[in-house]
C-alpha cells in the first residue's frame, strides 16, 4: 500500500496534536517554542502533501514562506526568552504574572 495523501494528512494531524499538547503541557518557554516549531512543520507537511496531490509547486512555495516566518518567530521568541530570563531568572511561564488582573 503506497502512502497516499491520507497517510500524510494523518501524520500531519498527529504531529500537530503533539505540538499542541506540548504548548499546553510544558512549563518551559523554550520547550513551548519547540512545540510551536513542531506545529509549523506539521502544517508544512500538509502543504507539501496537498501540493503533490494537486500536481503543482504552490504548496512547496508556501512552505518557503512558512520557514521564513518560523525563522522570524524563533529569533524574536528567543530574544524575548533571553530578556525574560535576565529579568526573572526563570523560564517557567507561570513566573510571569505581571499582567494578571
Amino acid at each position: 500500500m503506497t502512502p497516499s495523501l491520507t497517510h500524510y494528512l494523518i501524520l500531519s494531524a498527529t504531529l500537530f496534536a503533539i505540538g499542541t499538547a506540548g504548548v499546553f503541557l510544558r512549563r518551559n518557554l523554550i520547550t513551548i517554542l519547540l512545540s510551536i516549531e513542531i506545529m509549523l512543520n506539521a502544517a508544512n507537511l500538509a502543504f507539501v502533501a496537498f501540493g503533490r496531490a494537486l500536481g503543482n509547486v504552490d504548496g512547496q512555495v508556501i512552505v518557503f514562506f512558512v520557514i521564513t516566518v518560523a525563522a522570524a518567530e524563533a529569533a524574536v521568541g528567543l530574544a524575548l526568552v533571553i530578556a525574560l530570563f535576565r529579568h526573572r531568572q526563570s523560564l517557567d511561564p507561570d513566573a510571569y504574572t505581571s499582567l494578571r488582573g
Binding site: I30, R52, V76, A79
Partner: protein, 301 residues
Amino acid sequence: MAGDTVLFYAFAAIMVLASLLVVGQRSPIYSVLLLIVSFAALAGLYVLLDAPFLAVVQIIIYAGAIMVLFLFVVMLLNAPYETATGLKTGGPTGVGGAGGPTATDSVGAPGFSPGAPGPTGPDRTGPVGPPGFSPGARGPTGPDRTDSVGPPGFSPGAPGPTGPDRTGPVGPPGFSPGAPGPTATDSVGPPGFSPGAPGPTGPDRTGPVGPPGFSPGARGPRWAGAALALVLLVELAWSLWRAGAQETEALTGQLVPGTDLTSVRQIGHVLFADYGFAFEVTSVLILVAMVGAVVLAKREI
C-alpha cells in the same frame, strides 16, 4: 514502490517518536536535538513527496540554522530543566539529581566515615557530591550506590560486584573533572535513558553528569550532535541524488512534462512570478524581526 512505502513508515515513526520525546523531555538540550531528528525525518518525507529541494532547505535552514539558534539560547541560559516541582536552573545538580523525582541518593550521610573500602577495593577518589558531603563508605561486597546522577528519570545501572571506581566529577559545576578513567562509560543520557547493566568488572562512572551539556566533559550531547550531523549529511546526499535521478528522468522524457515538481527552476519561477509580492513582504518581515530581536536581547538600549 515498496521501498518508498517502507521509508514512509520509517520516517513517520521516527518523526512521531522524536516529537513525542521533544514534548516529554525534561532537559531542553535534548529536546532541541530530538527536534532536529524529527526535522531530518521530515526532510526524508519531503524527498518521498518529490520535493528534494525543499528537503535540502529543511535540513540546511531549519535544522541547520534555526535549531542552532535554539541550541545557542539553551546553552546561553545554562539550560534550566523542569522537575516535578518546577524549573531548576542549571546549577549544581550533580549528585542525586538535586530534587529530581527519582533521586535515591543512598550514599554517605554526612558524618559517615569516608573511605573504608571493602575487600574488593573500589577506589572512590573523586569528590562526588556537593560541598560538605562526605563520601560514603563501601560495604565489603562493593558498592550499591544508586544515586541517580543526571537528569531526573535517569537510572544508572547497578554497579557490578567487584566495585566500580567512581573517580568522576559529579559535583557542582566549577569543579574541574579529573582525567576520565580508561573505561569511562560516560552515561549522560536523556531522561528515561538507562544505560545497560554494567558487566561484572564494574564500570567507571566518570562522566560528569550535571546539567546536560555544560559540564566540561558532558559527552552525551556532543556525541548525539555528531551522530546527528552525520545523519543529516547522508540525508542531504540522498535527497540530492534523488533530485538528480528525477531530473534525468524528466530530461529523458520518462516523466510527463509539466508534472515534474522537483525542478528548482519551476519553483523559482512560481516563487518570483506568482508570489513576488509575498516574497518582498517576507524579506521586510525578516528585517523587522532581526532588528526586533537585537533590540529585545540587548542589555541596554
